[in-house]
Amino acid sequence: MKKLIGFLVVAGLLLSACAQPSAPPVVQTPEPPPELYDKIWISPGKVEVGNFYPGARAEYPLSIHNGKDEPVKFSVTYRVADNTAEGYVTAPGAAEGWVIIAEPAPVLAAKETRQVLIAVEMSKGAKAPPKWEFWIAVKDVTQTGMVQTELACRWLVEMRR
């Protein structure tokens, strides 16, 4: 009987330990089409965060590929969404301070793909709309021409109801 009780107590403790609210995201490793090998690209194009709340943290790695034959320096920055998905509004002004970019100025070797961790850590007590959106912009800063290109990843955040 004592063994049974001991087992139940241990099992209970283990189960309660497993029920933490911060499971890491399942990251699908990008396997780009071969034709993208010599292009600059980012992946994913969209990250969706659900059940978010003040004090919570969500993170996801942004893959950046340098398709050029020489090293390229990129800038990885927070960007107010130019337009938003249906039902979403642009992130509150404070959101820029909640976003952490692990490597804001990575230099990638020729044909290198690198993951840069992006995290959103909303301050406790902060307020946000039910559904808000911000972008992470990636730009090859070695571009010298008048017309330059930039790639952006949408982050769609839905707050816990």
Partner: protein, 179 residues
């Protein structure tokens, strides 16, 4: 009796924590599909050379004003969506720099210029996007499969200048996954 009490306590320890978490905390979820955002633009520069005040300059195939509606043959540069999903493209202008800079404006003025961006299919010049230092919608849902290119052009209108120094301007095209 004592044994049953202990069993009951053990069951409470077993069951209560997980149900409590389920009721109080829905886990933060993070999901993403491995889509690829990639974009090329064929012509990156516009070397205007020496330009006059109160004049108009076109960045088109021939340097002349395009026919209306705008057709691909008259455009200057090709944007290609080389990614794996449709993209929206916004365009952002930057004020010209160089001693006394030129600001972008809706109408020309002293050290104020007007820049516009247009694309194949635009009905006329009025349909072009007048550039500002804020991002503006330019192309919606450019496909990633067939028809993944679009040609575009620009126009610069000058005002008056207070110096003759070299000026440098910049335009950024930003691609994002079409929602």
């Amino acid at each position: 009796m004592k044994r049953w009490l202990i069993v009951l306590i053990a069951l409470v320890v077993l069951l209560v924590p997980s149900t409590a978490f389920a009721a109080t905390y829905a886990e933060v979820t993070v999901t993403a599909t491995p889509t690829y955002i990639a974009l090329t633009n064929s012509e990156g520069s516009w070397a205007l050379g020496t330009i006059a005040e109160s004049s108009h300059f076109w960045w088109t195939a021939t340097g002349a004003a395009p026919a209306e509606p705008f057709v691909a043959g008259d455009m200057k540069s090709i944007i290609t969506n080389t990614g794996s999903v449709n993209v929206n493209i916004t365009v952002t202008g930057f004020d010209f720099t160089g001693v006394v800079g030129w600001a972008l404006g809706p109408t020309v003025g002293s050290n104020i210029v007007v820049m516009k961006a247009g694309k194949t299919g635009d009905a006329n010049e009025a349909a072009m996007v007048t550039l500002t230092t804020g991002a503006q919608g330019f192309i919606t849902a450019l496909p990633h499969t067939s028809g993944n290119t679009i040609k575009w052009c620009m126009k610069l209108s000058t005002g008056t200048f207070t110096d003759g120094s070299l000026k440098t301007g910049k335009v950024t095209l930003t691609a994002s996954q079409t929602p």
